[in-house]
C-alpha cells in the first residue's frame, strides 16, 4: 500500500472558539479537519467535565492531517486564534493513504 508522509495536528480548544478556529483554518487553505467531542479534562485552569452543562462550554478536539509543507501555515493560523486561550496544539508525524486528498 503506497503511503505518504504527512503531519497530524491536534488542537484542543474551548468550544466557543471552535467556529473562529475552523474559519481561520479555512482561510489558511486547510479545508480538511475533523472535530471530536471532549468529555472533560484538566489543565492549568483546573478540572472540568461536560456533564449537565447547557451552554456552549467545554472543549473540542480538532484534528487536521496535512502535507508536511503546509503545517507551518496551519500552525500560524491556529496560533493566532489559540494564543490567548486555553488549549493545546500537538503535531505528530504520520503516513496517509491517498495523498491527493490532502
Amino acid at each position: 500500500m503506497q503511503m505518504h508522509q504527512a503531519k497530524r495536528v491536534e488542537i484542543i480548544i474551548e468550544a466557543p472558539m471552535e467556529g473562529r478556529l475552523t474559519a481561520a483554518l479555512i482561510d489558511a487553505g486547510v479545508t480538511g479537519f475533523t472535530i471530536l467531542p471532549v468529555l472533560g479534562g484538566s489543565g492549568r485552569s483546573g478540572l472540568w467535565s461536560r456533564e449537565g452543562q447547557v451552554g456552549r462550554s467545554g472543549m473540542v478536539a480538532v484534528i487536521c492531517i496535512v502535507r508536511p509543507e503546509r503545517v507551518e501555515g496551519l500552525l500560524d493560523a491556529a496560533f493566532r486564534v489559540v494564543e490567548r486561550h486555553m488549549g493545546v496544539v500537538c503535531v505528530t508525524d504520520c503516513q496517509v493513504l491517498r495523498a491527493e486528498r490532502f
Binding site: 474551548e14 456533564e51 449537565g52 447547557v54 490567548r84
Partner: protein, 325 residues
Amino acid sequence: MDGILALAADNLISPIILSFALGLFAALARSDLSVPEAVAKGLSIYLLFAIGFKGGASVARHGADATLLTSLVAGVALSFLLPFVAFALLRLMTRLSATDAAAVAAHYGSISIVTFVAASSVLAARGIGSEGYMVAVAAAMEAPAILSALWLVARAGGRREEDGELMREVLLNGSIVLLVGAFGIGLLTGEEGFRRIASFIDAPFQGVLCLFLLDMGLVAGRGLRGARGVLSAGAFGFGLVMPLAGASAGLAAALALGLSPGGVMLLMTLAASSSYIAVPAAMRVALPDANPSIYLTLSLGVTFPFNLTLGIPIYLALAQAATGG
C-alpha cells in the same frame, strides 16, 4: 417580615427547590449522579420554548399595550447600567483585577432565564397574574450587559480582542432566538395554538423544571467543589449583595412603568439574576484572560441558589408591598 419568612419557608419545601438541593447535595457528596449534557440541553430547549410560547399566547389573549415597549426599553437600560453598579461594588468589596471584575459584572447585568422561570412558577402556584411580555423583556436583557463590560475593560486599559462577530453571536444566541421565536409563535397562534399544545407545554412544565433544577444543582455543586478557595469572602458577599441591588433597581423601574404586582416581581427577579449561558461563552471569546472559575462560581454557585431560595420570596413580598397588590 413574617410574610416573607412564611413565603420563604413555603418556597423552600417546593419540589423545585428540593430538586435543586438534591443535585447540590449529590455533587458535594461526590455521587456520580449526572444528567447527560444532551438531556440537559433538551430540557432547557423545552423550558425556553414553553415559557416563550406561554408569554406570547398570553399577550395574544390580553392584548399588548404601550407598556410593552417602555418595558423593553427599561429592560435594555437595566442590562446596560447594572454592570457599572456591579463593577463598582466589586472594586469596593474584592481585589479582583479589572478584567475579572468586568467579566463578573457582565453576568450580573444579564439575566438567568431559569431564575425567571422559577419566579413565574411561584406566581402561577399563587395564582398571581403577570404581563406575558416579560418574557420578551427577559430576552432583551441578555445581551446589552456584555457591551458595558467590554467598555469597562477598554477604559481600564485592558487589552481586548477586536471581534465583529461577537455581538452577532450574542444577539443570535440560541436561547435568545428560541425564547423570542417561541414568543412570536405563541403570539401568532394565540389561544387556538395554545390549546393544541397545552398538554405538552403546560401540564408537565413543573416536573421538567424539577429535573432541570436537579441538573443545575449538580452543576452548581461541582463548580463549588472545584472552586474551593477561588472566592474570597468579599466576592462571596458580592454574590449576595448584588442581587439585592439589582432587584432594587428593578423595583424602581417596574414601579415607574406601572407594572402589575406579578410583573414588578418578575422585573426585580430579572435584574437580580445573573447569566450562566450566553455571557460565559461570550466572555471566553472576548475576555479570555478573565478567570472562568470566578464568574461561574459566583453566578451559579452563589447568586443562583440565593435567588432561588430567599431572593424570589423577598422580591415577591416587596413587589406586593410596593404595589399594594
